[in-house]
Structures are given as structure tokens and as C-alpha cells.
């Protein structure tokens, strides 16, 4: 009888424990959402405060309510301004996603090459660094001249900005592998390819995802910059350029477009971060390696 009681009490306490854990997890998630929303609300609050303090006109700094209201107005195309922004954001998104992918693959390859051969590394690294010191706003018009205002140009510019963080991230991540691990692979008579695929690249993954987050933000910037110079048929860069020209009539439109660009950048980075968390879920890097 006593044994039964002990068994029951142990059972109920473990259920209790699990329920408490679930509540705690929900609580933590809810708290996070509330915090983020709270911080986001600070921005329009801060905006209105600055507007009030500096006495800026409605052209320089439209009210937040006006910006939001403008999103609901109908455009000449028949949809709302918000819908119009969404369409163009989607075009920009596609181009920057492809640019990010190309930059990532190129960056990863370059990073691996730099680490593999010291000779190649010494030759490539200064070139890679130099390529990044030229400001993108100077290169973009040149690229448009060479490649035209096609979709390719945008993607190339996005890729150009993303491959550097990934090259460095990959190279650093691979260099962090301990010598003993490499020694062990040698005692198994592993080929260089096996060492790369089984040890070096998996070890570099956390660093690579860090580089990928930065690169995601840059790819959106690159694409928008690529859409601006002469104006591509669609995309946020074009919208920003156009609303900028009509700034004095409708400042709310420009700010609306800027908001859309921020949202797109945030979404790209957020997506990469979630991807990273899912891929690296079982790890805890540290002294084990």
C-alpha cells in the first residue's frame, strides 16, 4: 500500500513538473513577444516626440498616423499603397534571395580555398579585402552600364555585398578546428576531402551562420541600390526613387517605402536566424573540440 502511494506521488510530481515547465516556456515566449512589440511601439512614439521637439513640418516629418493612413489609399494600379509596396517588396525579395544564395556559395568556396592552400590564401585575401573597400554606390552605376538594368545586375550587386562576410566567416570557422582533431583524421588516413566535409565545414557552421545573417541584410541593401540608378521595372528601389521625386507632394509615400524596406531586411535576417537555430539545434560548442 505504501509502495503504491509512493508511486502515485512520484507520478503526479513529474506531471506537475512538466506542466510548470510548459507554463514557464509559454510565459517566456509571451514575454518576448510583448517586449518586441513594446520596443517597436517606442519608434513611432520617439518619432512624434522628435517632431514635436523640433517643430518639423508635415512635409519633412509627417505624422505617424498620416504615414499609416497613406498605406490604405488606392493607387493608380487599383490596389492599396500597402499592397503596391508588398508587390514591389516581393520582387526585391526574390532578387536579394538569389543574390544571397550566389554570394553564400561563392563566399564559402573562397573561404575554403583560402584555408586550404596558404599560397592561394596569401594571394586571394588582399584581393577580397580590396574588393570590399570600393563603395557600392560607386560600383552599382558601373555595373548597370555594363550589364544593363536587368535583373542580373541587381543579383550581381547583392552577391557582391554578401560574399565577403561569408568568405571571412568560413575561413575563420575552419581555422578554429583543433590540431588534435586534424591529427586524429590523419591517423585514420582520411583524405583532404573527408577532413573538409566531416570536420572543417561542420565545425565552421556556427560562424557561417553569423556571416549569413550579416549577408542577408547586405543583400537587401545591394538589391535596392541596384534597382535605383536607372530604375528597373519593379522593386522597392524604384519605389523609393519615385516617391523621393514626389517627396514634396506626398512625403508619406517615401516613408512608407522606407518602412517596407526595413521590414524586408528584418524578415530576411530573421529567416536566416531561424534557419541557423534549426540547423544547429543539437550543438553546444566549447571545450569538447
Amino acid at each position: 500500500m505504501a509502495r503504491l502511494r509512493v508511486a502515485l506521488s512520484r507520478d503526479s510530481s513529474s506531471v506537475d513538473h512538466r506542466n510548470r515547465w510548459i507554463l514557464r516556456a509559454i510565459g517566456a515566449g509571451a514575454r518576448r513577444v510583448v517586449t518586441v512589440i513594446g520596443l517597436l511601439l517606442l519608434i513611432p512614439a520617439g518619432w512624434e516626440l522628435i517632431k514635436f521637439a523640433t517643430g518639423a513640418s508635415n512635409t519633412t516629418m509627417p505624422h505617424v498616423s498620416d504615414i499609416v493612413a497613406h498605406l490604405r489609399t488606392t493607387t493608380s494600379h487599383g490596389n492599396t499603397f500597402a499592397g503596391f509596396l508588398f508587390e514591389n517588396a516581393y520582387v526585391t525579395f526574390k532578387a536579394s534571395a538569389v543574390g544571397l544564395a550566389i554570394g553564400a556559395v561563392t563566399g564559402l568556396t573562397t573561404g575554403v580555398l583560402i584555408v586550404r592552400s596558404r599560397l592561394v590564401g596569401k594571394g586571394l585575401l588582399p584581393l577580397v579585402v580590396a574588393s570590399q573597400t570600393v563603395p557600392i554606390v560607386a560600383i552599382a552605376p558601373a555595373l548597370v552600364l555594363w550589364l544593363g538594368t536587368s535583373w542580373t545586375t541587381k543579383v550581381v550587386i547583392a552577391g557582391y555585398l554578401t560574399y565577403f562576410p561569408l568568405t571571412i566567416a568560413t575561413a575563420r570557422g575552419i581555422q578554429a578546428v583543433s590540431n588534435d582533431s586534424l591529427a586524429l583524421m590523419r591517423t585514420y588516413s582520411a583524405t583532404r576531402r573527408e577532413v573538409l566535409l566531416k570536420i572543417q565545414l561542420p565545425a565552421a557552421m556556427p560562424m557561417i551562420f553569423v556571416g549569413l545573417e550579416t549577408a542577408a541584410a547586405f543583400s537587401v541593401i545591394g538589391t535596392i541600390v541596384g534597382e535605383m540608378p536607372v530604375g528597373s521595372p519593379k522593386g522597392l528601389g524604384l519605389v523609393i526613387l519615385t516617391t523621393w521625386q514626389y517627396y514634396n507632394f506626398q512625403p508619406e509615400a517615401l516613408y512608407g517605402a522606407a518602412l517596407a524596406a526595413c521590414a524586408l531586411g528584418g524578415l530576411m535576417v530573421g529567416f536566416v536566424r531561424v534557419l541557423g537555430r534549426v540547423t544547429l539545434k543539437d550543438r553546444r560548442m566549447g571545450a569538447v573540440l
Binding site: S181, A183, T187, Y188, L280, R284, V288, L289
Partner: protein
């Protein structure tokens, strides 16, 4: 240490091995005239003061560093060939487990490189984890295990290839004394099941006496083999062995040898 025997009966053999490291800051003579041999199936410990080159000698055996001069053989073969034939395995002081793989997959790693099929790999890995007593931890991640258990996984990984020679570089050096004593007992019971020749590097004289059939003493840099002692305590070694009066005699003898060896400064 009988050096006149034919190479094939010796699991490990080093004759007149010297190692010089060249660098911009000046050359370092790490090893000089090292003579070391172990018959197949023997457990040989290598002790010596810090910096005497014990690890260097192990790495020469493991074909990780080439000797400057002298002969090094494993199972009578040149070490490069022994490595390709997978005659030996190494266990280092830190476990070096891959954090993105669980225990089972970590143990599978050498088998993957060897080209074993997936089913066969898993079966062999499971069997070896049973031998070392970690079956219930197959799916655990390395960071979930204690230091001693991680080293057991590293040992399992080394043994899964079925090597005839095991090279161990202070494998329990990072563990506390209680865990170390327990690991010594476990190592003995695991070792009895295989017939591996072992080269074991350690700083601890009692550990060397407890585990080995022979202990070799090295001098301070440049490392030279200055003494070899045969430990004829009976196997299997148990807790009782540690209280055997002859155990203390061996420890004391080695302590004296080591004291002399630490004072010998090289050329």
C-alpha cells in the same frame, strides 16, 4: 628491454631516435638516442619530467612528426605503412569529440573513413560502447557527459578500428584523482578483452606502475631513455594491487630514477 628480438614480435620499436626542431628562434633538440621497444600485447608506460619529449615520441610513433634520425617501427613495419594499414589508434589528453554528433556517431567516425557500410558501422560502434559500458549513452551529445565519460568515448572510438597498437598521451591527465583511479581500473578491464600493445604516457608514477608491464623513464630535454623497469605484478590488476608492498617498491624505485633523470640537463 630485449632489443635483440626480431622486429615482427615487437609491437613498438624505436632505435636511436633523435628529433630536432628547427625554428627562427633557434634549434631545439627534443629527443636524443631514444631506445624503446614493446613486445606485442604488452602495456608500456613512458614517464619523464615535463618537456622531456614524451609526447613528441608518441607523435613520431603515430606518424604525425617525422624523426630526424633513427628507426621507428610498429608491428615491424615503417610507421607510415602502419598508419595506412590502420595498425594503431591514438587517444589524446582531450577527448576531441565532435560536438555536432552524438556518442554513437562519434564512435562511427573512423569506420566512416575506412569505408564501412552504415549497418556494419552502427553494429560495431554499439558493440564497442557496450564493452566500455556506455550503451545507455549512445544518443547523448558530448557536452552532456562528464570528462571521464568523454574520454571513454574517445577510447571506444580508438578501439572500434580494432587496432593492434594503442598510443595514449596522458589520457587521464585532465581528470581528478578519484576519477583517474576508476578510469585506470576500467582501462585494465577493457584492455584485457583485447590484446592491444599499449604505449601510455603519464606524469603519474603510481598510474604507470598500476597499468604497465614495463615502465620506461626519460630524462629532461633532450629526452633520452635512461631506465626501464619490468613491473612483474600479476594481471589482472585490481584495487588490491595498489596495496601490494611490491607496488610501493616499484613506485619508489621509479621515483628515484625520475629524480635523477630530472637533473640531467642535456647538451
Amino acid at each position: 628491454m630485449p632489443l635483440g628480438e626480431t622486429d615482427e614480435s615487437l609491437g613498438l620499436a624505436a632505435r636511436s631516435v633523435a628529433k630536432r626542431f628547427y625554428s627562427k628562434g633557434g634549434d631545439v633538440l627534443a629527443l636524443e638516442n631514444v631506445m624503446l621497444s614493446a613486445r606485442k600485447g604488452n602495456f608500456v608506460s613512458l614517464i619523464g619530467p615535463t618537456g622531456c619529449g614524451k609526447s613528441t615520441m608518441l607523435r613520431i610513433f603515430a606518424d604525425l612528426i617525422p624523426p630526424t634520425s633513427g628507426e621507428v617501427r610498429i608491428n615491424g613495419k615503417e610507421v607510415g605503412l602502419a598508419r595506412k594499414d590502420r595498425d594503431f589508434s591514438v587517444v589524446f589528453q582531450s577527448p576531441n569529440l565532435l560536438p555536432w554528433r552524438n556518442v554513437l556517431k562519434n564512435v562511427c567516425l573512423p569506420l566512416e573513413v575506412m569505408g564501412e557500410g552504415r549497418k556494419e558501422r552502427k553494429a560495431r560502434a554499439k558493440r564497442i560502447l557496450e564493452v566500455v559500458g556506455l550503451s545507455s549513452f549512445e544518443r547523448h551529445q558530448p557536452w552532456q557527459l562528464s570528462g571521464g565519460m568523454q574520454q571513454k568515448v574517445a577510447l571506444a572510438r580508438a578501439l572500434v578500428m580494432n587496432p593492434s597498437v594503442l598510443l595514449m598521451d596522458e589520457p587521464f591527465g585532465a581528470l581528478d584523482e578519484i576519477t583517474r583511479d576508476r578510469m585506470n581500473l576500467e582501462l585494465m578491464s577493457i584492455w584485457q578483452k583485447f590484446e592491444t600493445t599499449v604505449l601510455f604516457i603519464t606524469h603519474s608514477i603510481p598510474e604507470a606502475v598500476f597499468l604497465s608491464s614495463h615502465v620506461v623513464v626519460m630524462s629532461a630535454r633532450p629526452g633520452r631513455t635512461v631506465a626501464a623497469l619490468s613491473i612483474d605484478l600479476p594481471y589482472p590488476r585490481t584495487q588490491e594491487t595498489r596495496s601490494d608492498p611490491r607496488f610501493f617498491e616499484f613506485v619508489n624505485t621509479l621515483r628515484k630514477h625520475l629524480a635523477v633523470a630530472s637533473q640531467q640537463e642535456g647538451s
